[in-house]
């Protein structure tokens, strides 16, 4: 029985105790904490209550409910209950259906995840068990490329020293591998099932939390305690890579896992339009209350002055004789009558329009990425229109801007540039060089597939230029690459940094093939002959040194120091005799950097035996130190890396993703600021910034913010706040997204406006009208055309919106829908409603029908106004629709037709015969709409309402045309001419003098190499305890892990976790 004990220690940290030993001896697997996850919200029974509860928490629905309750009070009720009930039920049903479908899919995916299988140690046997049945304390076996089922404490793995590699893409989006390693005491367990089964350690650790990069705990086993940190933990959602198997003990399962702790609590994201709408709705509500108060006061006065005398015809109940009380009741009645002023149905329309837009995004062939066969996918419908208002883009670098493929492009050896000729050809080759035949140098055919194929260099090699040899030797020797032979006997390089990979591969292609290494030797094949160098020292890379060196003894017995690193650093270390070469090489470096290439300087030094021996002695002494070890070692490195002889420089291209430059240019033209978040070096980031046109030479204030912790970054950001800032983004087809945004934005915005004003008009006029009209107006008569417009409208076609990225700016500045616009719409709405009321009012005063009958009854008045309203609104929408598709036609004409058919139906004899009390308008439409004067009134109302709008719009386009207007005009003109596909010329930045040094390297691998820890023993299995223990053997791994995570953790904190 695994027990979980909670205790509070003095630091107020919760510790959770898992006692494994008990669990296995009793063969009772823990019941409390299983690995079953639920991302779903409801089940069949809880759906209705929970969903309804959630829905009524929304202001809109609560408001409806409040109205409904008000309407049930007979003294107040001015409309029958169904006027509120029908829309409320409609909205709630729609939302409920949507929620139910969403939850159904969550259930499905939960089931799928919970039923995955993994191997669990049960009864001293490995058995397949469903994920959901994995319990805390279980020992799980993972195989290569498997997903991790729960948060595990790594016990042992197939790799030496209990190392294992994981990919955390699901957690933080990082695609590079991370190293985890088991405690040495547990890694000894290996794959020994019987020993693992007897494992009875106790883990005391932190309570479940969502910090992906932190873990603290203690393992007590065999009377000793071992501290645990994040490096011993494999989190759920990771994938095991390059490790054939590993064993781990479940520490957190199911909802306790860090992955699940990070998900679930999804906040509802509100767009700025949502927020604005909320504000406006509140204002409108305030307006409604004001109207109610004014009308109530008016009512009181009227009751007092006039109504009082009218009592003979209409008795009042005793309590209502008071005119103030009557005013109070009237207030509530007006709140009910005018409730439609508050555009609650707008929220629903917005949802529908967003849904429509997300479908358009998903359907768009221009956003389809053929290489991976993935169409665009709008994962959430809530944020669509926000796409049109983006001001900042935060981008990852690797994989987003760059393909993370490094190619060796150029080099400068001893003052000569090589690799220039093939620039354009080189871009087209995409072959990975790892697959190239090893005997590249003797196989001239391979030239064509090689990105770097300057025949002059091949000539030099053939001629035996010693400087070139030395240069290539540096590339082949000074690195941390590991070699491996695959089953086909081909040489495979395992690179820790792609830069190095590119350099080593280049050397290999040019005949200096790195073959293998041990902790003391490096074997390379120099133009066909195997040469083994003795590795005497490895001067590792770090962020401060910005260089790396190896000291080797060649077969001839000479000791050489080979060094590569940042030009700025290395040039300071050169021997004074290098001055001429230095000037030449510096020019070359600027040229490389100008092309956006990442550069490294290459140098060597001959050492004499005696000097080296002394130095080495000092180094060993320094390494043995406990205090100030790092400082001493660094000093010694400085000491030996001087008087270097310059060989040249390399230039590696960090290949950009396709279309990045165009996209970035477009985005910056659209005034979108781009921030790049990267774990890379500053230099790399700047380099990429220049390479993809994000940074240009005319930018004065380039700020690079670097910091290893969130606090540091915040501090840095504060410093940079007032200044401009750098950089870039895109994904492979990012630019296409952009064009859509423009379209969406506009349509949504305009929809909102129309909806608003339709409702405002509505509210003003309804006091006199038929309750059915109130009920149906929003739903049927005008919502569909508005929706159609919102979904289908395009103000500018896609080609033009691509060509004029400036179109994007109004969206950012919120010019299309803001408070000012809203008030203009309000004013327009008020004007329209006044016209709608007073023109019929004046006309109906003292009027008679053409048969002498009375047409000024309130029912005819209502029909006239409603018909005018529908026609005015339809004409208005028709004017707002700039893009008339079939669907728009159908919806606009359709809604007018629907109005008339519903009108005639509701006024028909048949329906009156069945419900005489509900449909008292019998015969009204027939009679009223047969009158000429009524049509004259409708016509006049329409003209009077629409003309000012047209005039206003015309003057606006004429006086201060928006960019979209100009483009539309041009678009029309272009239609006659054959539309030519204009493409902005691809601008390549001209160079400026600036270092292009960049190197994606991490510290610590040198130590790994010299210690020999990551070298697989030729004879497996690695028997535990047999390998020779080097001094401070654990510290290097911890160092390594610490340093690895340092650079990446700073931003991963904020990353959202995809489930």
């Amino acid at each position: 029985m695994s027990s979980i004990l909670c205790a509070v220690n003095t630091c107020k940290l919760f510790y959770v105790l898992y006692d494994r030993s008990v669990s296995f001896i009793n063969n009772l697997r823990g019941g409390e904490k299983d690995n079953c996850i639920h991302t779903s919200k409801y089940n069949i029974l809880t759906f209705l209550p929970i969903n309804l509860f959630e829905q009524f928490q929304r202001v809109a629905n609560a408001y409806f409910l409040f109205l409904l309750i008000l309407q049930l009070i007979p003294e107040i009720s001015s409309l029958t209950w169904f006027t509120t009930m029908v829309p409320l039920v409609l909205v709630i049903t729609m939302t409920a259906v949507k929620d139910a479908t969403d939850d159904y899919f969550r259930h499905k995916s939960d089931n799928q995840v919970n039923n995955r299988l993994s191997e669990v140690l049960i009864d001293s046997k490995l058995q397949n068990e469903k994920w959901m049945n994995v319990k805390v304390g279980d020992i799980v076996k993972l195989e290569n490329n498997q997903f991790v089922a729960a948060d595990l404490l790594l016990l042992s793995s197939s790799e030496p020293h209990g190392l294992c590699y994981i990919e955390t893409a699901e957690l933080d989006g990082e695609t590079n591998l991370k190293v985890r390693h088991a405690l040495s005491v547990t890694s000894e367990l290996g794959a020994d099932i019987s020993r693992l089964a007897k494992f009875d350690g106790t883990v005391v650790c932190e309570a479940p939390n969502n910090k992906l990069d932190k873990f603290t705990g203690v393992l007590s086993w065999k009377d000793s305690k071992h501290s645990l940190n994040n490096e011993k933990i494999i989190l759920r959602g990771c994938i095991l890579r390059n490790t054939s198997w590993c064993f781990g003990m479940v520490i957190f399962a199911g909802p306790d896992t860090k992955l699940m702790q990070n998900s679930g609590k999804t906040k509802f994201k509100r767009t700025s339009i949502d927020r604005l709408m909320n504000t406006l709705v509140l204002w409108i509500f305030g307006f409604l209350v004001c109207m109610g108060i004014i009308l109530a006061i008016g009512n009181s006065i009227w009751e007092n002055q006039v109504g009082d005398q009218f009592r003979t015809f209409l008795f009042w109940n005793e309590g209502e004789k008071n005119s103030v009380f009557s005013g109070f009741l009237t207030f509530w009645s007006y709140i009910i009558i005018l409730n439609t002023v508050v555009p609650i149905s707008l929220y629903v329309s917005m949802e529908v329009i967003r849904l429509g837009h997300s479908y358009f995004i998903n359907w768009d062939r221009k956003m389809y990425y053929p290489e991976k066969a993935t169409p665009a996918e709008a994962r959430t419908t809530t944020l669509n229109e926000e796409l049109g208002q983006i001001e900042y883009i935060f981008s990852d670098k690797t994989g987003t801007l760059t393909e993370n493929i490094m190619t060796f492009k150029k080099c400068s050896i001893n003052g000569k540039i090589y690799g220039e000729a093939d620039d354009d050809m080189g871009q087209k080759t995409d072959m990975t060089k790892k697959n190239k035949p090893v005997d590249f140098a003797v196989n001239p055919q391979a030239d064509r597939t090689c990105e770097f194929s300057d025949h002059r260099l091949m000539e030099s090699i053939k001629l035996g230029d010693s400087k070139v040899y030395e240069f290539l030797r540096v590339l082949a020797l000074c690195h941390t690459v590991m070699s491996e032979e695959n089953s086909a006997g081909q040489l495979i390089y395992q690179v820790q940094s792609p830069d190095e990979g590119a350099l080593v591969t280049a050397a290999r292609n040019l005949g200096f093939i790195f073959k293998s290494r041990t902790s003391e030797t490096i074997t390379i094949e120099e133009l066909g002959t195997l040469v083994t160098y003795q590795l005497l020292a490895f001067l590792d890379f770090n962020n401060i040194r910005k260089r790396m060196s190896v000291i080797v003894r060649n077969p001839e017995g000479q000791i050489k120091l080979y060094s590569k690193g940042a030009d700025t650093i290395l040039f300071e270390k050169l021997h004074p005799s290098n001055e001429d070469l230095l000037t030449l090489t510096t020019d070359h470096l600027s040229e490389f950097a100008g092309e956006g290439l990442r550069t490294l300087a290459i140098a060597y030094r001959d050492l004499d035996d005696k000097y080296f021996k002394e130095w080495h002695k000092m180094l060993e002494d320094a390494n043995a130190l406990i205090d100030e070890r790092d400082e001493r070692v660094a000093g010694l490195y400085e000491e030996i890396e001087r008087d270097l002889m310059l060989l040249g420089a390399t230039a590696v291209e960090d290949k950009l993703q396709e279309g990045v430059i165009e996209t970035v240019t477009n985005l910056s033209l659209a005034n979108i600021k781009i921030w790049v978040l990267t774990g890379d070096k500053q230099e790399t980031a700047i380099n990429i910034g220049y390479a993809c046109n994000m940074l240009t030479d005319d930018m004065n204030d380039v700020f690079i913010i670097s910091g290893n912790t969130a606090v540091e970054v915040r501090e840095e950001l504060r410093k940079a706040k007032e200044n401009l800032f750098e950089q870039n983004r895109s994904f492979s087809n990012g630019h296409v997204v952009f064009e859509k945004q423009q379209l969406e934005l506009d349509s949504v915005v305009e929809e909102t406006i129309t909806g608003d004003y339709a409702l405002i008009i509505n509210g003003h006029s309804l006091t006199v009208y038929d309750q059915w009209f109130i009920t149906l107006f929003n739903i049927v008569y005008t919502s569909l055309p508005v929706l159609a417009m919102g979904i289908f409208d395009q103000d500018v076609d896609d080609q033009n919106s691509m060509d004029y990225p400036q179109l994007y700016e109004p969206g950012q500045l919120n010019l299309l829908f803001n408070k000012r616009k809203f008030f203009i719409c309000m004013a327009h709405g008020i004007y329209t409603s006044l016209a709608l009321f007073f023109i019929p009012y004046g006309a109906f005063y003292n009027v008679a029908g053409d048969d002498g009958q009375h047409v000024a009854d309130y029912q005819s008045f209502a029909v006239t106004m409603a018909t005018s309203l529908v026609i005015v609104v339809s004409v208005q929408i028709a004017l707002d629709t700039s893009y008339w598709t079939v669907i728009n036609h159908v919806f606009i004409w359709g809604s007018v037709a629907t109005y008339f058919s519903i009108l005639f139906t509701m006024h028909s004899n048949g329906i009156f015969g069945i419900f005489p009390n509900q449909f008292p308008f019998v015969g009204n439409a027939r009679h009223s709409l047969a009158q000429k004067c009524i049509w004259l009134v409708i016509l006049l109302t329409t003209v009077a309402s629409v003309m000012p709008v047209v005039a206003f719009r015309f003057l606006k386009v004429d006086l201060c045309p928006a960019l979209s207007d100009q483009i539309r005009r041009r678009q029309k003109a272009q239609k006659k001419a054959k539309p030519s596909r204009s493409r902005r010329p691809q601008t390549r930045r001209s160079s400026s003098r600036r270092s292009g040094y960049a190197f994606a390297h991490q510290e610590g691998y040198g130590e790994l190499i010299t210690s020999g820890k990551n070298m697989r023993a030729k004879n497996p299995p690695p028997t535990p305890g047999l390998e020779k223990t080097l001094y401070n053997s654990t510290s290097w791994i911890e160092n390594l892990c610490k340093k690895t995570t340092d650079t990446v953790s700073s931003f991963s904190l904020d990353k959202t976790v995809k489930l």
Partner: protein
Amino acid sequence: MKKTSQICQSKLPDNTALKQQQLPAYRLQLSATGVLSGFFATGAFCLGVGIILILSAKSIKEIEIKYTKICANCAELREDAINFDKECTCSIPFYLSETMQGNVYLYYKLYGFYQNLYRYILSRSNSQLVGTDLKDVGNCAPFSKSHNGTPIAPCGAIANSIFNDTIILSYNLNSSIHMEVPMLRSGITWWTDKYVKFRNPSAINLSSAFTGTAKPPYWSKPVYELDLEDTENNGFLNDDFIVWMRTAAFPTFKKLYRRLNRVQYFIEGLPAGNYSFNITYNFPVTRFKGEKSVVLSTLTWSGGSSLFLGLAYTVTGAVTWLAAFSMMAIHLMLKEKRTLFIER
């Protein structure tokens, strides 16, 4: 390879016009010429209609006589409900200087009577009036039931407050011959009202059909005695009752009372001469500070329209033209500016 391409194919969104937002569409463009000519055309149309309406409204002959003050003694009598059974008649002589050609309609008109009051409008029972359920007085408060609890028929405030003056127009051919002008009661209601909305309960005898109901408190006689001579005008089918029940939109309204029967002297219409209205004054208006009048009017093609519509059309037309001219001026000015700018 083939398989993957098929998968690609399946994931590739359909190339339909709808999904790719390539539906053939017409782009609405507010071009200068379009807008301006539209404005001019609309303006011209409105002006034309306006002038026609004004002219036709002018051609209408209308006589209105307010008789609240003329019949002051009757008005005073009706001030107090106690005198409800005392009859009061009032004769209003007037001179028609011009012949009223064609159809002439007689209206009564009320000032300050709020027939559009919300509670008033609701105070009726359509299911009772259609004869299906006499007992349904649900919405009729405060006139749903009499003191002893029997349902009122017709119930409700509207029915209770029916206009109950009798207006008779007599033509004084000369000082000795006074003849009643022949008037038609038929055709003053909407067809749907008379034949659909209002129905008497089905029974052999109308009075038996209404047994178990009470008359409205303000009425002098029960509903089945409204017109004992004509069964088609009795009960809920009474034309005056139906006209009253179609509630007016504004506190000042006129309702059709009778129309001229064009026979004998009156084939051409109402000839010029001396007339008098003989009014049985029942309907109290001074209680709510209202007024009432009788109206004689002819019609035009558009009905009995007032000047308002014509004026409104004329004004709209004029404003539209004004706007069109100023818009044109602005547009031309800007155009000039633009071309100048380009030339420079």
